[in-house]
């Protein structure tokens, strides 16, 4: 709590400074100025943001057939620059563009770019200053974004607490389970009753034993539980200005628990990590996996397409621990020549409750409006066919309100990816614990040349 107070204080101080500094800038590109460029360049990795924008941004006139240009009513064109996330291509292209931003012609400048929770901190970094503080745009996070979930605002803020991005979605995760397995093992598939069975890690372990006795796995892979531990680390992987990685105790807990769970047979040893064929198959009717830990998008775009049975076979309930998985942040790029449009777009897509509710309805995103999501939780309109008529918002909303976002660093993406990879060998018994540790050290130093030391908890 103390920490938070300090952060708020820092935010206030910096904000004041920034406001003062921004006076001159505002006069140049102030409201009503005709200096706005004719082209808005938006960098993203898929058309998710474009579809949301088309759906709710009132200024949209039309989009070309190939989806590369959206024309607004005032004649301004949005150029979509889409690169796949695969192999880091997106960040590579974005980084090149950002480094050339100063010299680029006004209509070639990046105006908006998106980032994901895993690497948002790389771009909100105060020193790098590539994502504009929202206040410089004329958006006051305190009032304009008051209805957003607090943790999304924290996530998009730099180390001084200055918010440099905003999101329309927020990704609280739930535990989604097979009703038939629940009935078979517990005699009931009632979400409240199952929720009791999985309410914390200790209870869940007892439950896992019950599931195992009937030949079921609790989760598919050790990677499934990682987010829950990873979200509750107490210190960032790397402190600002430091070159030492501090592996948090929570991560060590994940390692020892995963090993224990895997050896005990609570996890399917044939599934190694996520996003592979085995993981997909674990979601099908022939699998013996009881539950997955997924956010809204995970249920709609991963579980649903991989499920080969009818609707109503799955249900959601509270996870053993609140967590967040994913989220796309919208940033105004420093040097944009369209600040007014950018401001308008950010407000329209992330701060307008009606728009956000429309996105929730049309695209099943859990959106970034506290009051809106509470309404959704109580409305039958948001019931899901796939979940057999259950309204998942009832469960999402309280999770979202309780999420404590882990302290972020610019190194998160690599740390999260590589620790899972390195210890995967250990879980499967290919290497011993120390070897896995040293493999992680090698891999992380390769990824981040400035890292000098890795500290493990005692």
């Amino acid at each position: 709590m103390k920490k938070r107070a300090v952060a708020v204080l820092l935010a206030a101080v910096t904000a004041a400074g920034l406001l003062a500094g921004c006076g001159g800038k505002g006069a140049e590109n102030g409201p009503g100025s005709t200096e706005e460029g004719k082209v808005i360049n938006i960098y993203s990795w898929n058309d998710e943001f474009r579809t949301r924008l088309e759906a709710v941004y009132p200024e949209v006139e039309s989009t070309s057939d190939d989806g590369t240009v959206t024309t607004l009513k005032d004649g301004t064109e949005i150029h979509w620059i889409i690169n796949p996330n695969q192999d880091g291509v997106y960040q590579q292209k974005l980084d090149e563009a950002l480094m050339g931003q100063v010299d680029a012609a006004p209509d070639d400048k990046v105006d908006i770019f998106l980032s994901e929770t895993d690497y948002v901190y790389k771009y909100t970094d105060a020193e790098a200053d590539v994502a504009m503080p929202l206040e410089d745009l004329g958006i006051d996070p305190e009032t304009d974004l008051a209805d957003q979930y607090e943790f999304t605002k924290t996530t998009a803020s730099d180390e001084n607490g200055v918010q440099r991005g905003s999101t329309w979605q927020c990704c609280p995760g739930l535990l989604v389970y097979r009703r038939d397995i629940a009935k078979d093992v517990f005699g009931t598939d009632d979400p409240a009753a199952v929720g009791e069975k999985v309410k914390d890690w200790d209870t869940l372990k007892t439950t896992a034993e019950e599931l195992k006795a009937k030949g079921y796995y609790t989760f598919s892979s050790y990677a499934d539980t990682f987010r829950l531990y990873g979200n509750s680390i107490s210190e960032p992987w790397v402190a600002v200005g430091d070159t030492t990685i501090k592996v948090d105790q929570k991560i060590m807990d994940w390692i020892s628990d995963s090993k224990e769970w895997l050896d005990a047979g609570y996890l399917d040893k044939n599934v190694k990590g996520q996003w592979n064929d085995d993981w997909n198959k674990a979601m099908s009717s022939s699998s013996k996996v009881f539950a997955f830990l997924l956010p809204a998008w995970g249920i709609d775009f991963t579980l649903n397409p991989n499920w080969d049975g009818g609707d109503g076979a799955w249900a959601v309930t509270n996870p053993p621990q609140e967590y967040n998985w994913g989220g796309s942040y919208i940033h105004a790029c420093t040097g944009t020549d369209n600040p007014e449009h950018v401001k308008d777009i950010i407000l329209s897509l992330t701060a307008d409750k009606d728009n956000l509710l429309k996105i929730s309805k049309d695209y099943l995103d859990f959106t970034n409006t506290v009051s809106g999501m509470q309404e959704a939780a109580e409305s039958d309109e948001y019931a899901s066919d796939f979940l057999g008529g259950q309204n998942p918002y009832q469960y999402y909303a309280p999770v979202a309100e309780n999420i404590e976002i882990a302290p972020l660093s610019s190194y998160d993406q690599g740390c999260v990816e590589l620790i899972q990879n390195s210890f995967s060998d250990y879980f499967q018994g290919n290497v011993d614990f120390d070897r896995a540790k040293s493999n992680f050290e090698t891999a992380i130093k390769e990824r981040y040349p400035d890292i000098t030391e890795i500290q493990w908890p005692e």
Binding site: D125, Q428, N439, E446, P449
Partner: protein, 315 residues
């Protein structure tokens, strides 16, 4: 005398003909290469989106590479190359010999030739994805093996060193043996039929003919195959990268040198990547020098003979 005069008068044509190649090389490879070598002496990388360096640090990058696992990855690369190359060259020689042997009446040659080259057409990365899916523990290969009763529980192919390396070797073999066969066939068919006819008259067996006539005469193409394969082996990347998700699992035993280079490029560590590139460059240059010497040392006689013969037949 006559010869000398001729060479002088035509020299400008020689220069003219090789000019496009060199101009193009100069622009698109040499300039970037010099960049690479230059940065190998610098500390130069990205941290987040901040650029660190370039600061001149002399040989530090080279020294710290020697202290890293580089040699282990070199060993991995060598092993992976060998388990793909040995079967590839053996099968390719065998097939090329069979296909060109008029005494073996193999029907459907055209069909077989087309088929064995097919795997080379598919993108290495797509091929690796396909293998990854097929050999996964719940994948089709395991379900086929289980259903015909060969195994009782799924084999974890990608979980063991042997399994992963064998799969990489198998894929490299499948992708390249057809290619090599076609190349060797072209070479064997380039040998004058007169020689084979003479050999037939002398009553030599297929085996003898293969070892004493065919093999020595296709030496330059064999050398070419060996050299390109070594280069390909040194550059092995797509297959293990995709199959092991860039980590060379298990325990980094399938990590190749270019995967190592790639992870430096990925972290934008131009300095380290540059130094590693220079090492790679030196190693491959030495390897190729040996192979080239070894295969071209004493075979000029054979060529002379063929050339003369051809010239005679040239009417």
């Amino acid at each position: 005398m006559k010869k000398k005069r001729k060479s002088i008068s035509y020299a400008k044509w020689g220069y003219l003909f090789i000019l496009p190649f060199f101009i193009c090389f100069l622009i698109f490879s040499l300039i970037p290469l010099i960049d690479t070598i230059r940065y190998s002496f610098y500390e130069y990388y990205r941290s987040g989106i901040k650029e660190i360096g370039p600061n001149f640090i002399g040989m530090d990058n080279y020294v710290s590479l020697l202290g890293s696992d580089m040699l282990k990855y070199a060993g991995n690369t060598l092993i992976l190359w060998i388990i793909g190359f040995i079967p590839q060259i053996v099968i390719a020689l065998l097939l090329a010999n069979w296909f060109t042997d008029i005494r073996l009446k193999i029907k459907g040659k055209q069909f077989f030739k087309v088929v064995i080259y097919l795997p080379n057409l598919i993108m290495a990365s797509a091929f690796a994805m396909l293998f990854f899916a097929m050999f996964s523990t719940n994948g089709p290969i395991n379900s086929i093996l289980t259903s015909i009763g060969l195994i009782s529980e799924p084999i974890d192919f990608l979980g063991s060193v042997f399994g992963t390396r064998s799969l990489i070797g198998l894929m490299n073999f499948l992708m390249w043996f057809g290619n090599t066969t076609i190349m060797l066939m072209a070479a064997i068919m380039g040998i004058s039929q007169d020689i084979f006819e003479a050999c037939e008259l002398d009553g030599c067996t297929s085996v003898k003919r293969f070892f004493y006539i065919t093999l020595p005469l296709i030496r330059p193409i064999l050398a070419y195959t060996l050299i390109t394969s070594i280069i390909g082996g040194l550059q092995m990347f797509d297959v293990p990268q995709i199959l092991t998700n860039g980590q060379g699992n298990p325990d980094r035993t399938s990590m190749t040198l270019i995967m190592f280079l790639n992870s430096h490029l990925k972290s934008r560590n131009y300095g380290m990547a540059g130094a590693l590139s220079v090492y790679l460059f030196i190693v491959s240059a030495i390897l190729c020098f040996f192979v080239y010497k070894m295969t071209n040392g004493n075979s000029s006689d054979a060529y002379g003979k063929i050339s003369k013969k051809k010239a005679k037949r040239g009417r």
